[in-house]
Structures are given as C-alpha cells and as structure tokens.
C-alpha cells in the first residue's frame, strides 16, 4: 500500500522560540512531533491558533531550524536543498514582490526549475488559468486583493508540478468559490498521484479532503488517523427547523424544546428521537424547513482536548 519511502517523515521535531525583550525565556512551540505521511496522501494538519502548524511547516521548509529532532522529505533530510525541486510551498498569508505582475512573478519562480523560456510561458499561462487569475495576469501584485494573493501563492506552489505540496491554510482569505476551486486543485493533485500536506483549522475542509489528519495542540500531537476516527464526527443530535401553521399553538411536547427564531422554531433532539419528533410535527401540520446533524465544532473538539490529560494522544498511529 505505502511506498518504501514516506513522503514526509518527522521524528521528534522540537522548536523553542526565545521570547521576552529583557529576560529571554524559551518557549516551546513544537514539542517532539513525530509523524509520517505516505506518498499520494492528502494529509490534513489541524490545530487551533498557535498550535504550531506554521512552525512545523517553516521547519520543514528550512526557514527556521529545529531545536531538536529531524525530518526527511521524500527520503532526503530537510537541509538538503536539492529536494526542493520536488516540493511546492504556500506560506501562510503569502506576500510577493509587489512590483511584479502575476505573470512575471510566476515566470521568476519557474526559472528556478530551469525550464526554457517557451515552457515557462506555457506553464505560467496554464497555472494562472488553473487558479483563476488569467484575467489578472498582467496586473501588478501591489494591486492584488488578499484572495488574489492567495491564488498567486497557490500558483507558485504548483507551477513546477511538484511531487509534494505543502499548503499553510490554503483556504484563508478565499471566497466560497475560491475555496471550492482550491478544493478541486487539491483533489486534482491527488488524482495525479501527488502528496498534499496542508494545515487548517477548518474542520470541514479536512473532513472533505483528507485521507488522514493529525491534530496538534500547544505544540503536541494529540491524534492522528482518518478524519472520521480522529475527530469524532459522530452526530451528537439532530437540529430541526420548522414553521408552524399560522395562528395554531404548538403542542406542549414540542413547545417545551423548541426555541422561536424569527417566526420559525428551532429544536435539537437526540438522533434516536428524530422520527418521533418528525411524526409529532407532521401531526400538527408544521412545515419542516431543514433537518441537519449537529456535530462537534472544532472548538468543542479542542475544548475536549484541553480537558484531557496532556501527552495522551487520542489514538496513536491508526494506520
């Protein structure tokens, strides 16, 4: 199933930052992270703000240096720059040379892959189309919006068809259409057999895309495995939105649990009672507007993590 050499292999990776102006203290931002990502996987890297996601990615890119631990990418140590030929990286909140146009920027980055001029032209045009910037190709980047910069950032990460792509919060700053497009790009990469490693704190993105996710909290790995297993996605309750018939009072068993929301009612019932409730609603001819499962939010999930004992991963290495 997995190839011999993992796409990413992280062993005991640790990073301390010195903080404080007068008296420097060390603060651990990443604490002995170990994980392994196989080739061809889409791997989600989850965690609340300040969990250490960006820190991990910067360590892997050689932008900062680990306090302890090692990591290999595509079988080569992270300080081996030649490996960079085969990877792409979208930094968090990307920013680029604002005096260049998108086309010039991508051409510049493509030069580092030694493509001849003609191939660069073709590749740049293709990738601009891919990220939806074709119409803004000749606009200077200083005139780009946040979402457009994000798209340019994705473009530079994939222009050289890397085997492995690192994306730090690829959806941030994008409108719904943009998010959808990025999801498509990530899924495309998977069908081409590439590996994608992306960080996010949006659970639904991870759930929709990832083969596996890792959850990071306060620099420590708290769980790793398939999304369904790791972030317990079991439904806690069902939410029903309904509209009663006009001028007709609700039966008391419904009125007890429902809360009025602008002429409508909203109620949460355990999954087991769903059909009974629907029957009740039917009997009083209420219009059911929607029925949806209530899942734990990421906050709920992490709140749960914080209450749990530290150093106790939910599930270690579910393969």
């Amino acid at each position: 199933m997995a190839s011999q050499i993992p796409a990413i292999e992280i062993t005991g990776l640790t990073k301390d930052y010195s903080v404080g102006f007068w008296r420097k203290r060390m603060r651990r931002s990443l604490d002995h992270l170990s994980l392994r990502v196989e080739e061809g996987e889409i791997f989600g890297f989850l965690g609340p703000n300040g969990a250490g996601k960006t820190t991990t990615l910067k360590l892997l890119m050689g932008l900062i240096f680990p306090t302890d631990g090692t990591a290999n990418i595509l079988g080569r140590p992270i300080d081996d720059i030649s490996m960079h030929r085969d990877i792409g990286y979208l930094p968090e909140h990307p920013y680029f040379y604002d005096y260049l146009t998108a086309r010039e920027l991508l051409d510049y980055y493509a030069r580092f892959s030694h493509y001849p001029a003609e191939e660069r032209r073709v590749r740049v045009a293709r990738v601009l189309e891919r990220v939806g910037l074709a119409s803004a190709a000749d606009v200077q980047l200083r005139k780009f919006s946040k979402g457009m910069l994000q798209r340019a950032g994705i473009a530079q990460a994939i222009i050289h068809d890397p085997r492995l792509v690192f994306l730090d919060e690829p959806m941030s700053g994008l409108d719904p259409i943009g998010r959808h497009e990025v999801r498509d790009i990530i899924l495309d990469l998977k069908t081409q057999g590439r590996t994608v490693f992306f960080s996010t704190h949006i659970l639904s993105d991870a759930e929709m895309l990832c083969d596996r996710v890792a959850v990071l909290h306060e620099g420590k790995l708290r769980g790793i495995g398939s999304p369904g297993k790791i972030v317990s996605l079991e439904v806690q309750a069902m939410e029903i939105l309904f509209e009663p018939v006009e001028n007709q009072p609700l039966p008391s068993n419904l009125a007890q649990h429902a809360t009025p929301v602008g002429g409508r009612y909203r109620m949460e019932v355990p999954e087991a009672e769903l059909y009974r409730t629907i029957n009740d609603l039917r009997s009083c001819s209420a219009r059911i507007l929607s029925v949806s499962p209530v899942r734990p939010t990421l906050e709920d999930y992490f709140l749960g993590l914080v209450e749990r004992k530290p150093n106790a991963p939910v599930e270690a290495h579910a393969q």
Partner: protein
C-alpha cells in the same frame, strides 16, 4: 556555479528600476548641465578641473547613497515582507540568494554609473575640450569609485543579515568613515605614548577596508596618471574584501531563523 544567483540578481535589478531608483540620473544630468553652463561662463582654464571634480564627486556620492540605502534593505525587506518564504522553498541555497541580491545591486550601480559617466563625458565635451589620453585617469577613477561602492554594498549586506536597516545604515556609514580616515587614525595612534593605542589603531587600520586608496578624484581632475600597480592592487583588495564579507554574510544568514 549555479545559475540561481543570476536569476535573483536580474530580479533585484528589476526591482530597483521599477522603484524608480534610476531617477537619480535626472538630478545628475541637471547638475552636470548647470555646472557646464556656469563654468563655461566664468573661468578659463579650470573648466575641466571643475567638471571632473564635480562629476566624480557626484558619481561617488550618488552611488554611495544608493549602495547604502538599498544595500541595507536587500535582505531585510525580503524577510520583513516574507517574500523570502516562497523563494527559499525553491531549490536555491541561502548563500545563492545572498550572492544574487548582491550581484543585482552591483548591476544596478554599474549601469547607473555608466549613465553618469556618459553624462560627465558630454559635459566635458560641452566645455569645449577634446578628449586626450590622460582622460584614462578619469575612467580609472570611476572604476575605483565602483570598487569602493561594491565594497560598501558588501558591508551593508553583511550588516543587514542580522540587524535592522536603521542600525545597518549606521554601522555601514561608521565603517565607511573609519575606512576613509583609517590612515589618519593610525597616525594619531602613533603619536600617542600608549603602546596599547598604537597597537589598537594599527590593528584597526588593517581591519577596516581602506577607502582612502580608492579615491583618485583629485589625481584624475589634475590630469595626472594613475599607476597601473594601483589598479590591480585596488582590484585585488576589493575582491578579497568582498569575498570575505560575502562568506561571513552567508555563514550568518544560512543559520538564521527567519521570523
């Protein structure tokens, strides 16, 4: 040697052009025109002297301002704006990036200086003087100015690898001024009766780059010849010092955590 620094250099040059750095040439042109007209009106015999003195001094000062103020931002700006993040994920080593940024600014300075040299030639032509063989001294003096600028740029780059532009500017200026007066400082030291100060000042003399030797403006203005030995000695001196600074910069920058 890889082609990576070249790619970075061209982009650095493009940045300078798009940031309208070369507009300084307009001021230089105005200065030369004004000087040529005024000198032509008032003095006979020293037109050449004045034009050459003024032109070379302006070339040196304009270049110095560019070298220092762009030089201290070369690396800092890329870190501060985080443009370096995506760049370093490409197959480029940090020293290659550094050398590329350096070469890009040198390229800018060379082109800028070339334009100013042309302007100086036009001004000299205007004050009605055919070119003669001793004008080679002017070109050599300009070459020396460029060597000094290359050295100043390397100093600015070195400091910008670990400190803010403000401090780097200060450090670079301090080293430049110390370098200009290195010989005088050593001679001051030699006058004292303290052997500690004597040693310290002569160590300083050999430690800081000796910018005094790169100044041939007056010699060129008087139409005297510059000995050939000085040409190769200055070239070698500048190259070695620049190599030293780039090696040190690379060593520091390669181990630096980007914020």
């Amino acid at each position: 040697m890889s082609a990576m620094p070249g790619v970075v250099a061209i982009n650095t040059f493009r940045e300078a052009v798009r940031d309208r750095v070369l507009y300084n040439l307009v001021f230089f042109a105005l200065l030369m025109i004004g000087a040529a007209i005024i000198v032509g009106q008032i003095s006979i015999g020293i037109e050449r002297l004045v034009i050459v003195n003024l032109g070379l001094t302006a070339i040196s000062i304009f270049g110095l301002v560019m070298a220092i103020f762009i030089g201290v931002g070369l690396v800092y700006k890329e870190i501060e704006k985080r443009t370096l993040y995506s760049l370093l994920s490409k197959p480029i080593r940090r020293w290659e990036f550094l050398v590329g940024k350096y070469a890009g600014l040198i390229l800018t300075l060379v082109i800028n200086t070339a334009f100013m040299t042309a302007g100086l030639a036009v001004a000299l032509f205007y004050v009605g003087r055919p070119f003669v063989r001793s004008d080679a001294s002017i070109l050599i003096a300009i070459y020396f100015i460029l060597l000094a600028l290359a050295l100043v740029t390397a100093i600015a780059l070195f400091f910008s690898c670990f400190s803010s532009p403000m401090l780097s500017t200060l450090f670079t200026l301090a080293i430049y001024v110390t370098g200009l007066f290195a010989a005088d400082i050593r001679d001051f030291g030699a006058l004292t009766h303290s052997s500690f100060i004597k040693t310290a000042t002569s160590v300083l003399y050999y430690l800081v780059p000796n910018f005094h030797d790169f100044n041939s403006i007056a010699v060129a203005a008087h139409g005297e010849s510059i000995p050939f030995a000085l040409v190769w000695q200055n070239t070698l001196y500048a190259l070695m010092y620049i190599a030293l600074l780039l090696v040190a910069s690379s060593a520091i920058f390669s181990r630096r955590n980007l914020k």
